[in-house]
């Protein structure tokens, strides 16, 4: 009878396509919005995660996220180095100077000043050139997205010049930095040079980056530093999540995406559920005839569940394929290059849609099981 169930399902093309479209549309919308939301939120922590040399970030106690920080005193670096368990601690400058090209095009940048001696925090994924070139004077590394923003449509090329606060610098390398919340060029330079990219301030040490000695976890070291110095110390992942939490609490993004996701959930629940329920109810006469002929309730249950799982499988597959295609296209767009279809989103939406069609089929099934086969004699 599986054959009969399958043919009943696909026999009415319009209804079948309607069902598949409802499941596919809801799947696409949910996967799409959840993944974009998660991707944007993930981007807010990328500046922190991208610095792989750091295990612990030390900052002013009032600092809430990466882009909002109050400079530390230079002596704070020495204090951190004095905490037992610190393998090494180096300084990091973060500024937002304006970079200008020879043609006059300009953009606000995220400039990271790395410890002159060790270059701790240098980009590890290079597309062109080498981060070690930063040891030479007036050299910078810029990320590919930033390069294309300043030199649109031009090939990647080393040796190009930029002007930052009247300082002329040369591009010595092009990195593949993770995108941030805002699409700004990411510039890496030596600490001593990066300070000159921005107007001089009395205090300029943005962060201290530290690493724990062998046998000590970053979490334990962060606690030790906090207790010993009174400064705020967070592990890389803790600080990245702090950034995510800041944007969640202080922007309208969660509300915006939340509404869209809620609407998509409602569409999934109501449209898909109701369409499938109506499909079953509209076939009551047929199910009644089958009951009269001698098809058991158990067999009817199997038939309806088979229809539900088929609708889910095809609709979910189609919706997921659409979502995957969408993200495959946006992967080539600089601003959205790291926003991908998350497996967690795909799996979660899959389970949700399966529950929706199963609930709808159970609701329809109630009518089928309660149906008196004698009804078929009523014209």
């Amino acid at each position: 009878m599986n054959f009969v169930a399958f043919r009943m399902l696909i026999g009415d093309r319009a209804k079948y396509i309607g069902l598949i479209f409802a499941v596919a549309f809801s799947t696409f919308l949910l996967q799409n919005q959840i993944s974009i939301f998660a991707g944007i939120m993930k981007n807010t922590g990328h500046r922190v995660i991208d610095i792989t040399d750091a295990e612990v970030w030390v900052m002013d106690p009032q600092t809430r996220y990466f882009d909002e920080n109050k400079a530390l005193k230079d002596t704070d670096l020495t204090r951190v180095r004095g905490v037992p368990g610190v393998d090494y601690a180096v300084r990091l400058f973060k500024g937002n100077p304006v970079a200008r090209t020879n043609t006059g095009r300009f953009a606000t940048c995220v400039a990271l000043g790395l410890d002159d001696a060790t270059l701790t925090g240098a980009p590890r994924h290079m597309i062109l050139g080498s981060w070690e070139a930063l040891r030479r004077p007036h050299q910078i590394v810029i990320d590919k997205a930033g390069y294309l923003m300043l030199f649109p449509g031009e090939p990647l090329e080393l040796g190009r010049e930029l002007e930052l606060n009247d300082q002329r610098v040369e591009i010595a390398g092009i990195s593949d930095a993770l995108p941030g919340f805002v699409s700004l060029p990411i510039i890496h330079a030596r600490y001593s040079e990066a300070l000159n990219f921005q107007g001089k301030q009395r205090l300029q040490l943005s962060f201290v980056l530290a690493r724990a000695q062998a046998g000590l976890t970053p979490e334990a070291l962060a606690l030790r530093i906090q207790e010993a110095t009174g400064l705020k110390a967070r592990t890389t992942w803790q600080f990245a999540w702090d950034c995510v939490a800041y944007y969640l609490q202080n922007t309208g993004i969660p509300v915006n995406f939340g509404i869209t996701i809620a609407v998509a959930t409602l569409v999934g629940l109501v449209v898909t559920g109701q369409t499938f329920y109506l499909f079953t109810v509209e076939n009551l006469k047929q199910f009644g005839a089958l009951k009269a002929i001698g098809v058991t309730n158990l067999r009817l249950l199997g038939m309806i569940l088979l229809q539900a799982v088929t609708v889910w499988f095809v609709g979910y597959g189609l919706g997921s394929a659409l979502a995957a295609t969408f993200f495959n296209i946006t992967l080539n767009v600089i601003a959205t290059r790291h926003i991908t279809l998350l497996w967690q989103s795909a799996a979660g939406v899959g389970i949700f849609m399966l529950i929706v069609v199963l609930l709808a089929s159970v609701a329809g099934l109630q009518r089928v099981l309660k149906l008196q086969p004698a009804e078929v004699f009523r014209s």
Binding site: M8, L9, Q286, I293, A374
Partner: protein, 232 residues
Amino acid sequence: MTPTPSIAVHCQSVRRSFGSGDARIEVLRGVDFEARQGEMTFLVGPSGCGKTTLISIIAGLLDASAGDVALFGSKPASMSSRGQILFRRSHLGFVFQQYNLLPALTAAENAAVPLLAAGMKHREAVDRATAMLQRLGIGEKASVLPRLLSGGQQQRVALARALVHEPRLIICDEPTAALDHKSGESVMELLATAAVHPERAVVVVTHDNRVFHFAHRIAHMNDGVITHTTKH
């Protein structure tokens, strides 16, 4: 009274009511009815006299409030729910007024449904159903969907579905009601030639007096009782 072997359907003092209290309606008020093997028995009477309720009880699709129903000496009401379904599946065939064909299945597949329900493999079931359609004169329509068939052809497919698993009792509910006279006559001729069999009984509910001449017996029903039976 013990039914003789030739009696396929034996109903004794069958009662059926619907609702309760002041809203209670007694549709069957002590029906005694028999249908014999090798015969076509018509159940006739005005609308609302209880014909459909009676055949629903005979078919095991509805329980009687009181009285006994025996089919070929067995009492389906005393069987388990599953036993009743299996009994119905193997011993009964149905022809409905509105055909009740599955629109997504071809004529042959529709006719094969009782075999598929019994667990027969699809190919074998469809082959047997196609042979039955050929026997009923619409073999060339085996792969056609019901919506492309005329009313008479659809009723033939329904007849093939009722016969394909060789049941011992066929119950027809107003088989000619949705057809013009010519098509109705044709379907009844088929029913008389293909369905009637020494081992099988056919019960036909109808109020179409133009086809009464096909009946071996006619049970006249009125106001919930069989008033009299005539033999033709």
